[in-house]
Amino acid sequence: MNEPADLGASEQLVLADLLNHVLDKGVVITGEVTISVADIDLIRVGLSLFLAAVETIERPRLPR
């Protein structure tokens, strides 16, 4: 479902974080790397990327 294949790793992380902020309750980040709302997968984030992310993301603005 609309997986943004053209986004880089850090942008995927930003998008994942954005979805958690913008969408209401029900967003779950699982150990199986799927972020979903009401059982609908919105985006998949590589768990290893998440594990490796030790960074400050400044003012995320994603390509539209």
Binding site: D17, N20, V22, L23, I29, V54, T56, I57, R59, R64
Partner: protein
């Protein structure tokens, strides 16, 4: 509905929202709501739509700190929205005052390091006993993770307490290993806050931690229409 602002804060004329709709301001008393029109009473969440929603809220954040609405709060007509704002005007005005001059910063930590489920072959073979063993093991892991998450959150709070106005966190959901803590931070101490978080990260090198922001204060908004 995207966000609530003071009445004298109109959106930029060229601003477009979800599905390209022009963003306009609906003034109710001393407050204003940034809205755009959509074709349906309910719209499905998607990354492009979430991005569009957040972009509108960010434009408001550039002007002042708004009360952001979560995605998908839709009204049948302007009059319905006006009535909703009027009925909760005092609460929402207080909410706007509460977040004034602040932004939200969010810290997420993956709790993979705190506990793990025993491998299946470490448990009894498939049977009633095996099933119960797995259930018990999972409950134990979740209990340990919740306790670990609480301890971790308290550590973070201690590290940044001089620089935050408020804190909000999401209880660890079943199946989730991501601890999420959000802080309401005054814009003028954002650098100090970041320095404090950096100090915490440096002192906890084993943690996998991500800090993001500044966001509009999504975790501190009472702006809901149910």
């Amino acid at each position: 509905m995207y966000c609530l602002v003071e009445r004298n804060t109109p959106p930029p004329a060229e601003l477009r929202g979800i599905d390209g709709g022009a963003v306009r301001s609906l003034v109710v008393g001393d407050l204003a709501v940034w809205v755009s029109d959509v074709g349906e009473r309910a719209i499905a969440a998607s990354p492009p739509r979430a991005l569009a929603h957040d972009e509108v809220v960010r434009r408001a954040l550039d002007l002042q700190t708004p009360l952001p609405a979560r995605f998908g709060q839709i009204f049948a007509a302007d009059e319905e929205l006006r009535a909703a704002v009027a009925s909760r005007a005092s609460d929402w005005a207080l909410g706007l005052k509460r977040v004034s001059g602040s932004v939200e910063m969010t810290i997420r930590i993956l709790l993979e390091v705190l506990a793990d489920l025993p491998a299946n072959d470490e448990l009894a073979p498939e049977s009633g006993l095996g099933y119960l063993s797995r259930v018990r093991a999972r409950q134990t892991v979740e209990h340990v993770m919740r306790e670990g998450a609480d301890t971790l959150r308290e550590s973070i709070t201690r590290a940044v307490r001089d620089w935050i106005r408020e804190e909000a966190w999401t209880p660890l959901l079943v199946g989730s290993r991501a601890l999420s803590v959000s802080h309401l931070v005054a814009r003028e101490v954002l650098t100090d806050y970041r320095r404090a978080v950096r100090g915490f990260m440096d002192a906890q090198p084993a943690l996998r931690l991500m800090v993001s922001g500044p966001w509009a204060p999504y975790s501190f908004t009472p702006l809901r229409h149910d």
